[in-house]
């Protein structure tokens, strides 16, 4: 008997090879449960926009539409609104970056800037060096452009210069083309660590010597809990560094406005690439940000965010200290949203996640922040969204889950599940 089979997708043989990994994932499905209020989600990275003065934003948006509606609702420049670019210079001045408004390309979140930079620099097979671990959104972009991603070790001060040098040397010996070194120097996502001034200088010196472009991603730079914002690497090299910034964490992620500060030649290409991709960033969103920066005490608001996040960071660290089983370690973030936790020897954060979600707490397993399967013993804890009491409750639940996982491992002599996890293991951007 012959019967025609169906794979329920007539285009299944037409997809690009890079789409092969785009599959339904049981880990990602668990994050659907994590969105329920019963679950304490320490998984997502949603900024706490409730701390914004919504009344003032309403007034700002209303005034914008009344006074500049025809402009705000129209196409804009591919490079971004000139007035906003001038204001961005004020913002990046806080981390020591000086530039001309023409050096800035406004993007739909800095995620789009990552895409554009990779688009204009990387051919398939080109090497991008990243930290171990690294921002999952960047890894997704590098993979989409079929780059070879190589992780370089970090320590408590971030990217390790010697390891970076060794990797560059190794690539050179192997004849590989290294196009970018991607780093998040301040309040790293997911590792929660920050490069000190000396470390930054060493890294810059290494990439300069190697003649490789540094891609500096700095979405959290203004969200430090102590002292002044760390000085950006770009502040010391205008030609060898592309600096990415964002209003997602300092104003509102929903407006999707970020930027790249790039050397002249690069910027010209980024603008053309941006026009090819999206024509222009949203004029409405840009002008809302511009109006906000012009009329509201935005530096004070950033201080408010810092206080909110510091209180939550403290709640997380105190709870971890009080409750985590022996053998568990974690990083101590001096800013930003995340702490990187290392489970007791032998535990597997991916295999443990279903049990955690069943016990109403969620985190992101560490493997999502690597391209090479590292990170099984790690997980990212996010403290940006839940209130401090919820964070404490979440850590209490997580601690109990780890205890029972230790018992399971003791019983069976392994922590790893038999089947490899397929598909994405990180949540969608709208998970708290």
């Amino acid at each position: 008997m012959t019967t025609e089979g169906s794979r329920l997708d007539p285009w299944v043989d037409a997809y690009a090879a890079r789409a092969n990994a785009m599959r339904a994932s049981e880990i990602r499905a668990l994050f659907a449960v994590a969105s329920r209020p019963e679950v304490v989600s320490l998984a997502g990275g949603m900024p706490y926009v409730q701390a914004l003065p919504i009344d003032m934003l309403t007034t700002t948006a209303q005034r914008l539409l009344v006074e500049r509606g025809p402009v705000a609702l129209q196409y804009g420049s591919g490079q971004g609104d000139e007035g906003l670019r001038e204001q961005i210079l004020e913002v990046v001045g806080e981390v020591g970056v000086t530039a001309h408004p023409d050096d800035i390309v406004v993007t739909t979140g800095s995620q789009m800037a990552l895409d554009l930079v990779t688009r204009v620099f990387c051919d398939p097979g080109d090497v991008v060096i990243v930290e171990a671990p690294s921002y999952v959104g960047a890894l997704g972009v590098f993979r989409a452009f079929e780059c070879e991603v190589i992780h370089v070790a970090m320590d408590d001060e971030g990217l390790v210069p010697q390891a970076l040098q060794e990797t560059l040397d190794q690539c050179s010996r192997e004849g590989k083309r290294v196009k970018l070194v991607y780093t998040i120097p301040s309040f790293h996502n997911p590792a929660g660590v920050t490069q000190g001034p000396q470390r930054r200088a060493e890294i810059l010196q290494i990439v300069q010597s190697a003649g490789v472009l540094l891609l500096e991603d700095d979405p959290y730079g203004l969200l430090g809990f102590e002292g002044e914002a760390p000085r950006a690497i770009r502040a010391d090299d205008a030609e060898g560094v592309i600096y990415l910034g964002s209003f997602s964490k300092t104003i509102a992620s929903g407006l999707r406005v970020g930027w790249a500060v790039a050397p002249h030649g690069v910027r010209e290409k980024l603008v053309l690439a941006a026009e090819a991709a999206v024509l222009c960033p949203s004029n409405y969103a840009q002008l809302t940000i511009s109006e906000y920066l012009a009329t509201q005490p935005w530096r004070e608001q950033i201080k408010t965010f810092r206080e909110v996040y510091r209180e939550r960071r403290d709640a997380l660290l105190e709870s971890l200290q009080a409750l985590m089983p022996e053998g568990t370690t974690w990083t101590i973030p001096a800013g930003g949203f995340y702490s990187w936790l290392t489970l007791p020897e032998g535990l597997d954060a991916t295999a443990m996640l279903p049990r955690a979600v069943a016990n109403l707490v969620a985190y992101v397993p560490g493997t999502g922040f690597y391209v090479d399967g590292q990170g099984r013993q790690n997980l990212r804890l996010s403290y940006c969204y839940p209130e401090p009491d919820r964070i404490r409750e979440g850590v209490r639940r997580l601690s109990a889950v780890i205890e029972s996982e230790l018992e399971l491992v003791h019983t069976f002599g392994t922590a790893h599940a038999l089947n490899p996890v397929t598909g994405s293991t990180v949540p969608a951007p709208d998970l708290a």
Binding site: V12, E26, P354
Partner: protein
């Protein structure tokens, strides 16, 4: 008529359930534009919603715990709200795989031999000895899966005894009791069963050919990764036998309105019962919608029929 489709919940199959719920609700709206069809999650507001709006009938499309274990159906029964599908007591039996398989065996149907154990048994007696005893009794390969739950979450096929501990880790992540079942090689099929006009009818079997050995979560919900044949590539006799097992399982377990039985047809053409679902998946890649399509029945048509019958109960 006011129909409330319940989907979501707190189980690991929440996402699947939400997709099933949206699809059925949309199909009902198209089929019966005169009906008020609402979709709701199971949360702290549900009881107030049920009391305040009192739907004429509820369609529970919750997969996994609370949806298929009978708990929510107990609540609906307590409130006197009619619903589509099996009652709480029989849902509970069907949802517990070892219990369902015992009843199926008692009824003279074939189901792979199995052992079910909680984690405490391994802890108290030592996992190596227990697993060795299980392998000696059941042989290899073995299917290891949580005793309760669906979508193959936590399930694996073990060919080598040294892989059993890792398979147990995977299964215990989704439940406190794990079932180890003889692996039966053959054609994997699913048969939907619907009650219509007082008759219990089986839909055509859907044959499942996943890319890899296991029809796992990714294979179930990524369009393109699994090939389906409906009608299945079975002889008429094999097809009838598979349907007969599904019909018998529905009756033996005391199920109501609809169910889906998953089976293996072995090399000798014998059909083996694996498990039964009282709230089958209704997503774009699910099995029952494919079988309905093969039988020229629409999702909206059959679900509205069931809703009307349930509302009269």
């Amino acid at each position: 008529m006011h129909v409330l489709v319940l989907a979501g919940g707190l189980s690991a199959e929440r996402d699947v359930s939400l997709r099933s719920g949206r699809r059925v609700a949309e199909a009902l709206r198209i089929e019966r534009p005169d009906w008020e069809v609402q979709l709701a999650d199971v949360d702290a507001q549900l009881l107030d919603h049920l009391r305040d709006h009192r739907p004429d009938v509820v369609i529970p499309l919750l997969h996994g715990a609370a949806g298929e274990d009978g708990a929510l159906r107990d609540v609906l029964q307590s409130l006197g709200i009619p619903f589509v599908g099996s009652i709480a007591a029989t849902s509970r039996l069907a949802f517990d795989k070892p219990v369902a398989k015992r009843l199926i065996t008692d009824a003279g149907l074939r189901t792979p031999d199995c052992v079910a154990m909680p984690q405490s048994t391994f802890r108290e007696l030592g996992s190596t000895g227990v697993l060795t005893a299980v392998v000696e009794r059941l042989g290899l390969p073995l299917v290891v899966k949580p005793a309760k739950g669906g979508s193959a979450l936590g399930a694996s096929i073990v060919h080598d005894a040294s892989d059993l501990p890792a398979a147990m880790i995977g299964a215990f992540a989704y439940g406190d009791v794990v079932i180890m079942e003889q692996f039966i090689s053959g054609t994997e099929v699913a048969v939907g069963v619907f009650e219509r006009d007082g008759d219990v009818l089986a839909l055509p079997a859907v044959e499942i050919v996943p890319e890899s050995e296991l029809y796992d979560y990714s294979a179930r919900y990524t369009a393109g990764t699994t090939e389906f044949f409906c009608p299945a590539r079975l002889t008429d006799e094999q097809e009838m036998q598979a349907q007969a097992v599904a019909l018998n399982a529905h009756v033996v377990l005391g199920l109501r309105d609809w169910s889906r039985t998953d089976l293996i047809v072995d090399a000798d053409g014998e059909a083996w019962f694996l498990e039964v679902n009282v709230a089958p998946g209704m997503t774009e890649t699910s099995l029952v919608p494919q079988a309905l399509s093969a039988a020229d029945v629409t999702v909206g048509g059959i679900m509205s029929e069931l809703a009307e019958v349930a509302a009269e109960r």
